[in-house]
Symmetry: C2
Subunit: 342 residues, 2 copies
DNA sequence: TTGAAAGCGCTAACAA
DNA sequence: TTGTTAGCGCTTTCAA
């Protein structure tokens, strides 16, 4: 009756080898073949051998979508980054991906492009895939996407920032602390007239605010701010220093919101015959691997992105498997790396 | 009978809102709700309104896994890159991802880590997800993975290289041509004693071979080769120049297999008091965005990675939707960008 | 334009 | 240890 004689009936099979085919070849029921493949210890040695042989002969690759649908477990983790090119987040994504892969999970990557609107539709698309976990760079502001995410019940980890009210889990550090510590560091170094070169970014806002507050507290002059908008390029850093020097030729130190911008500031300073750090101290953010080997090597704020990725993988997987997670909020801190540029 | 009274029967629903719920709320059959959502023109205005309202009230997000299983269309494209951090491929991935997203497709990202073994298991995992297309950086050598891929019938595009025998589609350029052209370029610039700094990579092999062959053809001395292995860092470039200068203090030009290595060579040269390009000409590969704004700006080989990503998206989507693809093999070429470092 | 039935390929639940 | 049955949530097929 329910036979697969396919003589006349319209079949809509995709044509690929299925578990059924493997089971038939091995002379067992589909569920037995499934067990042989997924929990080899739960079947007899003989069955195991026959099934594996059938798998081998047919080149069977299990359809994970079907499996996921049946088990409500996708073994898929989605990650959202603003950008992937020359982005400080990629070290985190790489370590996240590595950790996930080792545990049999796959990564789905979405780019929000620093746009809230796009992030929303991206998150809808992501939720539709029913991933077992979602990794977010930054903190998702209240809005439709956040509500949807909350409603979806999918484990979420927000990263690279701190807030008392995360959606779910959180691994980050304090941008306010960074702004203050960098200001204190530069003041201790003897600089008075400072400037800030920053991209348009809410986290950079907070670093800047804290930086200014720390200066004000010590009655230092306010730092000159240059906002380069969305263009986080080396060129923007060069141009920014140009602007700064026009308004404040005696500037002594510049804090940049990314290493690339800092590299631009250093480049422009050297090109104008200034000495770094004697005439101008420059501080970056991110500690992109190569800045430590440049001349002058760049002082910067180091974030342990790899650690964030690893922890995120661990927490998301644990949560998706129903295990308890030690701490929902983790502060991984940061370090100020002093090199030649200051 | 088949009612959803769930009084006693064990349900294994994931608990999320389903199409059924929406349909019930809108007073239509599930299939009608499906049509309202996916092909709005195929239902009456009244039904459309009721369904959309129900979607809105429930916060329904369609389960794409179920949809994919039923329709054999996943709207998922998988991409494999060796690495994501400071990688020249990311511009391609970013443009691929953007193009895909605009067409309603999602990107799954895998890292092969320059390891053939890992690439194999990665590809198995990818095939299991039944993506509508697969994007590979580089050409997949014959082996299990290639066989599996071929058998899967999934549209595949190999990139960043050329071969007469791609698995399926191909978008790339000739590494042999690059090696030769760069050699010719440097010879024309009047350099005789050359060196090559390169990572362990089959494509770099071919560029190197062609480079040497071009020198030999003009009876130039063989270029000194330094292989930095897997470490593609700026530091490796610095160290490499150190080695070169020990063996050949009079070297005049260095061709590097990546911009980062080239940056290292430039850095080391300047640190040693050499002038670039007067004492040493340096050529990179990749044209990472920021090298054009450094001092000295870096001469390099430019690949239009964005174009590769865009074309790949177009070709994969076309193929997965059963459309014809204009050309299976596309050579996007390259350009030699002359800047200050030569 | 709408719906009933069947099934995509797999696994959970229960039974033998 | 193995199998039967009934879904997972959606879309295709066919019929009204």
């Amino acid at each position: 009756m329910n036979e697969k004689d396919s003589s006349k009936r319209t079949r809509r099979s995709s044509g690929a080898i299925t578990l059924r085919d493997v089971a038939k070849l091995a002379g067992v029921a589909p569920i037995t073949a499934s067990r042989a493949i997924n929990t080899p210890t739960s079947v007899s040695a003989d069955v195991l051998r026959r099934v594996l042989e059938a798998v081998d002969r047919t080149g069977y690759v299990p359809n994970r979508m079907a499996g996921s649908l049946a088990s409500s477990k996708s073994r898929l983790i989605a990650a959202v980054v603003p950008s992937t090119v020359m982005s400080v987040f990629m070290a985190t994504i790489e370590s996240l991906n590595n950790s996930l892969f080792d545990q049999g999970y796959q990564l789905m990557l979405g780019q929000s492009g620093y746009s809230a609107e796009r992030e929303e539709s991206l998150l809808e698309a992501i939720i539709g895939r029913r991933p077992d976990g979602i990794f977010l760079t930054g903190i998702l502001p209240p809005g439709r996407a956040r509500t949807r995410l909350l409603a979806s019940g999918i484990p979420v980890v927000e990263t690279w920032d701190l807030t008392p009210t995360p959606i779910d889990m959180l691994i980050g550090f304090s941008h306010t602390d960074i702004g203050r510590k960098v200001a204190e560091f530069l003041m201790k170094k003897g600089h008075r007239r400072m400037a800030i070169v920053r991209a348009e970014d809410e986290r950079a806002d907070r670093r800047t605010l804290a930086f200014q507050a720390a200066l004000q507290q010590q009655a230092y002059p306010k730092a000159l701010e240059v906002n380069v908008g969305a263009s986080r390029s080396l060129k923007s850093g060069r141009d920014a220093l140009g602007k700064i020097l026009t308004k404040q030729p005696k500037v002594q130190a510049v804090f940049c919101s990314s290493d690339l911008l800092a590299l631009g500031v250093v480049t422009e300073a050297l090109a104008r015959g200034m000495r770094v750090p004697q005439d101008l101290a420059v501080m970056g953010f991110g500690d992109v691997p190569f800045v430590q080997d440049m001349v002058p090597s760049l002082s910067t704020v180091r974030i342990n992105g790899e650690q964030i990725g690893e922890l995120a993988a661990k927490m998301l997987i644990a949560r998706s498997e129903g295990l308890a997670v030690d701490a929902r909020i983790m502060d991984v801190g940061f370090s100020i790396i002093e090199r030649q540029s200051t």
